[in-house]
Symmetry: C2
Subunit: 329 residues, 2 copies
DNA sequence: CAGTTTTTTGGAACCGGTTCCATTTCAAGC
DNA sequence: GCTTGAAATGGAACCGGTTCCAAAAAACTG
């Protein structure tokens, strides 16, 4: 493996001259040509470690994700990756497999790897998180959750919940089940639900029940079954598309037709929701775009720029077949 | 930020002694205690760049993936990640967004980052790939594709195709459409199909047509429509689950009942195939396990171990509702 | 063409670790 | 008590770059 010293020797110049050539200092055309040729011939590439050591400007951004095998995270990761590439940064992914302890560990581990900053696809923010960020002093952007002490970038969960609530009412549903998740997850568990609640509260002829399940499809299948048996709503609104998929499965198992006997809606906008039958009515979030925004913001922050404490990303309701219009028949 | 020199000074010893403490050299209990305390107090962590510079034993493995938002890649990544963590390595992911040029660039870029080795979730292996591997001299493990000059780890596509072919025959289907992909993809485009062909050729009462589409669902929907119109098979066997999902969609659009009027099967074993209705009969590959195997193998290779040139991972057929048994009625 | 300014270049120090080697310390052996 | 060997430690060199500074070369200036 060639080093800068080798190149300098071959070109008959000093190390510093080669370094200048690489980083754009003033150089005569003649020496530039020489070095150019040698580098080309030898296929020399600078050692990244040595560069980062002296320069102290690491070009790696750490991204912490709770899981790799979810549509939402993948999309966000794609967005971050694309944008960082454009900005000449590398992305180092730390997967925590939904283990909060591992999340904290990852912060320190990334710190250890001397990343320039961290993008955290967050689920919950604990004291340990704040402590870790403070101790490592790394710039952080939160994606998907909000926290007043940190920069964050979130989906407009509240409005999304509200709009979907309005949509449900507009379609004539009055006996409604909302299948949510733990309130520990502020964005998905609280804000979506609160937005939804607000919309529903504007009509007092409604009967609404709220339920809770995990993020897993299998659990959603079970819970949905029992909801149908005990409450028999005309629509089940699910806090994520995965849960909605589980609800659909439950309906099929019970041989209940969707949407004529039961409507189902979700949040997310996952690709599969469009390919299945019946197509799932859902609120689509722009994951990839959020990823790009996160990357852009973090890099701006690294370069001493000012960014808003909290940024919102929009959404849109995609109407498909899984929600019945009660008023049309 | 503290450096090893600071620690040494605070502890009243030499840099080298601190280094020995960190890396396990012979040290007296007294100095060990002292250093221990200082490090604990200051929260010192060694600079990774400086370490890697001298030590030349990078602990980062590069993984090149064609896309992040596919079930298969995500699962493999999870497997690699889990295993590498256990083996004390970090994973650096390079996403190429299915761009072959970017794949080559990534090899050089990872080389530049001084990764210890590369795991390539491959689609096609070109001359440029071989050249890049040779020039960088990085150890490589191929996942999903085979090449005689490289270590590889593949699904048993040929047998999987054969077994699914047998299964289709066993269920009494005799008018069969096989919807494959480009033959540039040896594993998916050639081997699965060849295995399938071999099974079918053992029964001469069969009418089989072979078609080709892309990996995208939308294309599969169109192609399936035209297959139904022109050939009207009793079953469509799809080279991937995504394609099968597209085929299912096409059948729904045409109001053809699956499986009573048309059977559909796929390869992959993606999670959604179990949640949709009708459940998709598919050949399940063990992606996560393959990821673990890849990580284990690469690390073995790095430590001078011997590993087989080519390793096979098994599969299993999951019978669900999308394939009709013609002989039972 | 001497004097001054600007550009180009080389040399040395430095980044924060690791490692080799020489020296000191210490306990065991005779 | 002196020798010997092993363990502990310090000092210096080194990894492969970047950067500062001063010297050399080239380009103006009057």
């Amino acid at each position: 493996m060639k080093t800068i010293a080798d190149i300098a020797q071959l070109a008959g110049v000093a190390k510093s001259t080669v370094s200048r050539y690489l980083n754009g200092g003033s150089i005569s055309v003649a020496t530039k040509r020489k070095i150019e040729r040698i580098i080309h011939e030898t296929g020399y590439t600078p050692n990244n470690f040595a560069q980062s050591l002296k320069a102290k400007k690491p070009n790696i951004i750490g991204t912490i994700v709770p899981r790799l095998d979810s549509f939402a995270s993948s999309q966000v990761l794609m967005g971050i990756d694309e944008q960082l590439r454009d900005l000449n940064y590398q992305m180092l992914i730390a997967n925590t497999s939904q283990d909060l302890v591992r999340e904290i560990e990852s912060i320190y581990s990334l710190y250890n790897q001397k990343v320039a900053g961290i993008i955290l696809l967050a689920t919950q923010i604990s004291e340990a998180h704040l402590k870790a960020f403070e101790e490592t002093n790394l710039p952080v952007i939160l994606v998907g959750q909000q926290h007043d002490q940190l920069y964050s970038l979130i989906h407009d969960d509240d409005s999304a919940g509200y709009d979907l609530g309005k949509y449900v009412l507009k379609n004539g549903h009055r006996k409604i089940a909302y299948l949510g998740v733990t309130e520990k997850d502020i964005a998905v568990g609280v804000r979506r639900k609160e937005g939804f609640k607000r919309a529903i509260s504007e009509d007092d002829s409604c009967e609404v029940n709220y339920y809770e399940t995990s993020f897993k499809m299998e659990n959603a299948v079970e819970v949905t079954s029992s909801i149908i048996e005990s409450f028999d709503p005309s629509i089940i609104v699910c806090a994520t598309d995965n849960i909605a998929l589980g609800a659909l499965k439950a309906a099929h198992l019970k041989e209940i037709d969707v949407p004529s006997s039961l409507s189902i809606a979700g949040f997310g906008g996952y690709d599969v929701t469009g390919i299945i039958h019946p197509g799932l009515t859902t609120v689509k979030f722009h994951y990839e775009k959020v990823g790009r925004m996160a990357a852009t913001s973090l890099v701006a922050l690294l370069n001493g720029g000012e960014i808003p404490r909290s940024q919102l990303s929009d959404y849109q309701i995609i109407e498909r077949e899984s929600v019945d219009n009660k008023l049309k028949r």
